[in-house]
């Protein structure tokens, strides 16, 4: 089986590139290109103001993408996040009503409501066996219907104390970004060190194998959906704090559903679940923020920004998959991942299994 050795040697070399590391390299590349472009129009990319802008741009999408990472790890999707964001901002602003004493109550209420929405999503996905794409599209539409019927425009008032979260910073680092990074640390810890977190990888990788190994497959999925809605609620709270009011359209305007999924995939998480990391996602979010920032500084036409964004998403993921495809163990790959491994084509199943062990 001489053909089997060549790819495994090649894989051995590529295995050294960790998923998050590739995202890091891509981020550095984007920053270098961005810095050159920004310098070409006579501005300093690394000025404190610019770095603050980038970090601020990361915070909202970062919150959403952290939750989305958990859901995608479980091989589901959450398309309801923009509506959860809008709803959270409205509930928060209405309950606060300009009075600082109401802040704890408002935050708790928002988190509980978001948790319930996530619970509903999770139950629909696991108990009713509805695909996550459809389930969350549906719950998103239901929330949208509620928002459209009950809110005509911005509503409520956020007290100044709460607005400070979105407005202040430690040096060039905004508080909101620090909070987002804190949530990312908690999320990464959760995935690496807790039982439910580990089960998420198992269920996302292969639900049947997970069940046969004695895992209650429903629980990680439900927890992931709840956490995703809650991080989306954090994003909504942050937006409310920035705007000073709640807005029924703030989530949809940001396009957070598709952008967060794109950021997660950009961060090296497999869309079919089972593989990925929070830090990769943060890297993906940072790439988006840098690209957006460079385009704003260079005053690119807002419509062209979308073109660039779309091209960057596809190109980055294409570069990423071409580097890391061989590294994937077969049982975590999709059926589509198999064809480009020439050894498999001729090898009988036993040889494939053997090779798999060798590479693992």
């Amino acid at each position: 089986m001489s053909t089997a050795t060549a790819p495994s040697v090649r894989r051995g070399r590529r295995r050294r590139l960790d998923a998050s590391l590739i995202v890091g390299i891509a981020l550095v590349g984007v920053i270098i290109i961005g810095a050159i472009l920004v310098a070409s129009v006579g501005r300093n990319f690394f000025s404190a103001g610019n770095i603050r802008d980038i970090l601020t741009g990361m915070s909202v999408l970062g919150f959403v993408a952290i939750g989305q990472t958990l859901v995608i790890l479980c091989a589901s999707l959450d398309l309801s996040v923009p509506y959860v964001i809008s709803l959270s901002s409205l509930i928060a602003a209405d309950l606060m009503a300009g009075n600082p004493a109401n802040i704890p109550l408002a935050v708790v209420t928002v988190v509980v409501v978001a948790g319930l929405i996530g619970l509903a999503n999770g139950l629909i996905v696991t108990k009713l066996k509805v695909n996550g794409f459809i389930a969350t599209l549906g719950t998103g539409l239901i929330i949208k219907g509620y928002l459209d019927s009950n809110y005509k425009g911005t509503s409520g008032e956020v007290p100044w104390e709460f607005q400070l979260i979105g407005a202040t910073g430690v040096g060039p680092v905004p508080v909101s970004t620090l909070l987002m990074l804190a949530v990312a640390v908690i999320g990464a810890f959760f995935l690496a060190r807790t039982r439910v977190g580990n089960h998420m990888f198992a269920v996302g990788g292969n639900e049947q194998v997970a069940r046969l190994s004695g895992i209650r497959t429903a629980r990680p999925v439900i927890v992931a959906h709840m956490l995703c809605s809650i991080t989306a609620a954090f994003a909504g709270l942050l937006l409310a704090s920035r705007l000073g009011v709640g807005s029924p359209t703030v989530g949809i305007q940001g396009g957070y559903d598709l952008l967060s999924i794109a950021a997660v995939v950009l961060g090296g998480t497999l869309l079919m679940g089972g593989r990925g990391s929070i830090w990769g996602t943060i890297g993906g979010v940072a790439i988006f923020a840098v690209v957006d920032n460079v385009m704003s500084v260079m005053q690119v036409n807002p419509f062209l920004k979308d073109v660039v964004r779309g091209v960057v998403i596809v190109a980055a993921v294409a570069v990423y998959t071409s580097r890391s495809l061989d590294r994937r163990r077969p049982r975590f790959g999709s059926g589509a991942a198999a064809p480009d491994r020439p050894a498999d084509r001729s090898a009988p199943p036993s040889a494939v299994a053997h090779e798999k062990e060798a590479s693992a």
């Binding site: 996905v125 009713l128 066996k129 509805v130 695909n131 794409f133 459809i134 389930a135 599209l137 549906g138 719950t139 539409l141 239901i142 929330i143 949208k144 219907g145 509620y146 459209d148 019927s149 292969n206 639900e207 049947q208 194998v209 046969l212 598709l258 999924i261 794109a262 995939v265 869309l271 036409n301 419509f303 062209l304 979308d306 073109v307 660039v308 964004r309 779309g310 091209v311 998403i313 596809v314 993921v317 294409a318 998959t321 071409s322 077969p330 049982r331 790959g333 999709s334 059926g335 589509a336 991942a337 198999a338 064809p339 480009d340 498999d344 084509r345 199943p349 494939v352 299994a353 798999k356």
Partner: protein
């Protein structure tokens, strides 16, 4: 299965079989559609008049055509989120390039078809050659295409194309006896649906389903996976182009025409019982899903439900419909997932591709279920039980 093999089924058996099909996940969309149409007729008897009904069909035509295109992509195991942007792009192209010069209609129509095919080709090649998930590829295409179109037009509505071109979308064969007018869009829809059915029955169409069900077995049986998958994206972009041509006449030229069509189409396809992830579905049911969705909107309109609640009801209905078909399927297959690794598997791989790839009724597949060998190690995610869940 006995109903199929019995030489002369009685009328009662036929009716029972028909009833079973209607409540089965595969036929549920037709039941839903019939219920909705009856409900609309009860609220507004004039809806049942042929001329009114044909107007309804005309209104659904673009959505149904987009759904038919999306069906091929989904049954092949992928997504196409760029369809809405393709519709928008084609509408804007028609409006800007044809202008008031009717002689340009045909060349521009050809250009639009080529443009659509090229978009599909790009999507498909990036998915198959660069191995980027289709969700991401078509999402990027959606952003890039929409951005380019908005940049071109400056984000504002532009002039409508010549009336001769718009006639395709809003005109028709007039002065007919019963239905008064047969809109061209209905004709186009019927032609597209007939083409889709014909195409789906040809070996190539069956290969798409086989590919969506299990890419590895498809490859082992000699399919050029990359070309089959790429062609599904070309089909979907072309169907979006046709929908765009109809919408130019019906809705006029505006960069917001076609927005959200990708989700509407996916919803319609899933309502039609097509399984996300590929390998299972029927194109007629996908088209019926589009009709059911539009009938639902019409019903809500007639029932006086505020338009703001439309989304909420739509969301609830699609969850319920998909949950119904998913749980029904699951009940039928109960316990089957755990059977796979047990020793009672019979070494009969030859029957397996047939049960996996043919879109045969679920009853038949259940009979063969116990003879199903363990899935190929590298493609366990393509297994039925994981897919039954959409």
């Amino acid at each position: 299965m006995s109903a199929v093999t019995t030489p002369q089924p009685t009328v009662g058996q036929r009716l029972a079989g028909f009833g079973r099909t209607l409540i089965s996940p595969r036929g549920a969309v037709f039941l839903l559609l019939i219920v909705l149409l009856i409900a609309i007729t009860l609220l507004n008897p004039s809806f049942a008049e042929p001329s009114q009904f044909i107007r309804f069909v005309q209104r659904v035509a673009p959505v149904a055509i987009v759904a038919i295109g999306q069906y091929f992509v989904i049954v092949g195991g992928e997504f196409d989120l760029s369809m809405g942007s393709v519709v928008t792009a084609q509408v804007v192209i028609a409006g800007n390039l044809i202008g008031q010069d009717e002689s340009k209609s045909l060349p521009v129509l050809l250009l639009m078809l080529v443009f659509g095919a090229v978009i599909g080709l790009i999507n498909g090649l990036i998915v198959t050659m660069l191995k980027v998930p289709s969700f991401i590829v078509t999402l990027g295409m959606m952003l890039a295409l929409l951005g380019a179109i908005l940049y071109w037009t400056g984000g504002a509505a532009t002039g409508n194309p010549a009336d001769g071109f718009r006639e395709i979308g809003r005109g028709g064969i007039r002065d007919l006896p019963v239905i008064d007018i047969l809109p061209w869009s209905v004709v186009v829809l019927v032609v597209v649906l007939a083409l889709a059915i014909w195409f789906g029955r040809r070996p190539f169409g069956r290969t798409i389903i086989a590919l969506g069900d299990n890419p590895t077995t498809a490859r082992y049986s000699g399919t050029r996976n990359w070309w089959v998958k790429t062609s599904t994206f070309i089909i979907s972009s072309l169907s979006a182009t046709v929908a765009g041509v109809l919408l130019v006449g019906y809705a006029g030229v505006h960069p917001s025409v076609g927005r959200g069509y990708e989700f509407t189409a996916i919803t319609a396809v899933v309502l039609g019982g097509v399984v996300l992830g590929g390998g299972r579905g029927w194109v007629v049911a996908a088209a019926a899903g589009a009709f059911a969705l539009e009938a639902l909107f019409t019903l809500l309109n007639f029932a006086g439900v505020p338009s703001t609640y439309r989304d909420a009801v739509q969301g609830a209905i699609i969850i319920l419909a998909v949950a119904y078909s998913a749980t029904t399927l699951r009940a039928r297959r109960k316990g089957r997932a755990l059977e796979a690794p047990t020793p009672q598997i019979s070494p009969d791989p030859s029957s397996d591709p047939a049960t996996q790839t043919s879109p045969a009724p679920a009853e038949e597949q259940d009979a063969a279920a116990s003879a199903r060998p363990a899935p190929i190690p590298s493609t366990q995610r393509a297994d039925n039980e994981t897919k039954g869940g959409s």
